[in-house]
Symmetry: C2
Subunit: 428 residues, 2 copies
């Protein structure tokens, strides 16, 4: 598929000032919905804060001249109808993790709305239909939903799932939907067959763009993720009465694996990362030798073969450690997300537009999962990153400078212009 | 003080058979009081199970011809009155940890009662008074009591403490006492000024005697214990988006300290032990870089200078690790129990008696804390260990072979004979 490019719409000084103001104001309004005194945002799906944010977005989509509609799972869409019903979708998710920040997900919705609103005003009706997506759920912070909003779009929610997924209070996601006036029996109606492209603007959530001095990151691949649960079993005992050399201390095995995992990632080099985020010791008393120590291993790489090799190396290492310390080890794979390649047409459009507009950009992998990686299985999809201050995300201090946000909106608007106002790329 | 020894009373075949039967029967009755289906015993102080065990012991003390009395905190005593009111005390505690075994504490009471009962029958009235102690509390498993029963004996419970110590349900130890018919206002009356010696029989709780093929362990010193709380603070972040070399992962620091602590104990050699029993990671998600990792360090040694050096080395090591990984470390001392020397007179009496009776015994330190270490500050005290099968303690599988138990009773009876029937050692 060849990229056909028309001149992207460039922002003038007035546009930039307006975008700055518009984006800042909406971010500020949204951060109050689910906002804490420490600047944090807690907005799990189907909660009052989430409802309020969705209502705020509906109001704003209308003010931008977009048609608002709601799908069966409560995702909101702001539509700029084209001459053709095929849809170019842009946006991200509205839910947040607990004690998260104001930018993850939300900023992508804001940027997409600013871009589509600007195109509506400046360029009139497009050839293909443009839609802003305010996705209902991505973070799995209330329900173990695993891309609930996106799976609804793809028709990939299985029958009965609404009654099975429960939050920490035992509320099913179906009940939570009903409390928001949504009917879980209608979930299948959320499935789309009219999508032809998706572009997701999002904060980077890491320190790479800031370190590179770039305003824009254009994602070539989303890393594959494997999560393992490793459990070492030794023998507990009294901290005072069992000589050190006679112990089968499970935590010794776990500590060695934590260090081996880091070493493996350093040796493998970028973009390999390995993280032990969870480590539980049992029985857990200060004067008790650990009988069981279990830990999570999160492995990421853009290349599935490297991922496979890393997993094998870590399993071998865990086995060798266990043998050396007379422990029993069990290793269980809990997650296996394959790496995803962003669509070359969308990626090249984003890159060429960023270059033409004169913004500093860099091509990079995404180390985090995003809605785009699932939607990419249905239609050409791309991911555009803007910098995260200090690389911070999922915390109250999340921030992206307005200059970067406006640059991102301009690149997004140019890219959507090329996708929606000139449909020749579709036939190419 | 010179040890003056009279011939100890030796057990005949009939005595051994009777002791075996008596000890086995009482252990079996007591293990049902607070016993679980898995063989575990859960008998925290001032619970119905504890009350029932104390009632059972009272009945049995009476059957052995001992006078029963109860002190203000509910400890039970079985007295064999001598011509002299000064008291030789022997016994241990009746409370257990949760999901513990049938031997820790309890066996010491059983052994002391068997020994004193046998002396009463065979040797008549002693010169000094003999008392069996069924101490109310040692394990701190319900209240953070820190040797509640023994501190009552020593007059070391501070005013108001009964209203301050609470269990996990918010019940104060004073309320719990009242529910057992005890008056917390009378706690000071439990203080003793008539004790002249204490011998505590106890399970070893470790694998040393079993490995040495000995029936008896005679404790020379109780280790000193220091507990530190170490906290590494780095920076949390997304497991996918922060390159490994740019992280400040708190768990890396904690894992290095866990391994360094073990190495330090191995290098220091017996009786040094260091244990990391507790390790907590925050925020704790599988896809979150640990921002905080805190751990407990439990250090034990019989020599306070070595203990001091070990603590210093570990603090230095924690600092060096923190510097190397750009973490902040804080180290706080949570416990400092000095080592205690068992009284040489009691120790030599135990050793000489064991030798004369032909039992395989070994001199050893105690790595666990015991009532004897506090009572030793008041009067000459000694500790006699019998083997723990597989070194197990604080678990349902706790067990000591009856042959070892009978050997222990015989050594204890001989030692108490030397202490109580011939008071010359007191004047020596």
């Amino acid at each position: 598929m060849k990229v056909i490019r028309s001149t992207p719409a460039r922002f003038g000084r007035t546009d930039k000032t307006r975008m700055r103001k518009q984006a800042a104001e909406l971010l500020d309004r949204l951060r109050r919905l689910g906002g804490g005194a420490d600047g944090s945002v807690t907005r799990p799906v189907y909660t009052p804060a989430w409802n309020a944010a969705m209502t705020e977005l509906e109001r704003w989509f209308r003010a931008l001249g977009l048609e608002v509609w709601v799908n069966a799972v409560g995702s909101r869409f702001g539509r700029l109808r084209g001459r053709n019903p095929q849809v170019i979708l842009a946006g991200s998710h509205v839910d947040s993790v607990r004690q998260g920040g104001a930018y993850d997900g939300t900023l992508g919705v804001v940027m997409a709305a600013c871009a589509v609103g600007w195109l509506a005003e400046r360029c009139g009706q497009p050839t293909l239909t443009l839609e802003v997506l305010a996705n209902c759920e991505e973070e799995s912070s209330r329900f173990p939903g695993n891309f609930w909003g996106t799976r609804a779009l793809l028709g990939a929610i299985s029958p009965g799932e609404a009654d099975r997924l429960v939050d920490e209070h035992g509320t099913t996601i179906g009940q939570a939907m009903r409390e928001c006036g949504l009917d879980p029996d209608r979930i299948p109606e959320a499935a789309r067959s009219d999508l032809v492209a998706f572009v997701e603007p999002h904060i980077e959530q890491g320190p790479v763009l800031e370190a590179a001095g770039a305003s824009i990151g254009i994602v070539d691949r989303v890393v594959g993720v494997r999560q393992l649960h490793v459990s070492f079993v030794g023998e507990t005992g009294h901290a005072g009465t069992v000589p050190v050399t006679r112990r089968r201390d499970a935590l010794i095995g776990a500590a060695e694996l934590v260090l081996a995992a880091r070493q493996l990632a350093v040796q493998a080099g970028t973009p390999a990362v390995v993280t032990v985020g969870r480590l539980l010791v049992s029985p857990g008393g200060a004067n008790q030798i650990p009988g069981v120590a279990s830990l999570s291993l999160d492995l990421r790489h853009t290349d599935v073969e490297v991922l496979e090799r890393m997993e094998g190396d870590l399993r071998d290492k865990a086995g060798a450690i266990a043998t050396h310390h007379s422990l029993v080890v069990t290793t269980e794979r809990r997650l296996d997300q394959p790496p995803i390649e962003c669509h070359p047409t969308i990626r090249r459009l984003l890159e060429d537009t960023a270059t033409e507009l004169g913004h500093a950009w860099t091509r990079m992998p995404s180390g985090a999962g995003h809605d785009a990686q699932l939607i990419a299985t249905r239609c050409p999809s791309g991911l555009l990153f803007v910098p995260s201050k200090n690389g911070w995300s999922h915390r109250p201090e999340e921030e992206t400078e307005l200059a970067h946000i406006v640059a991102g909106i301009e690149v997004l608007a140019g890219t959507l212009y090329n996708l929606a106002y000139n449909s020749a790329w579709l036939a190419a």
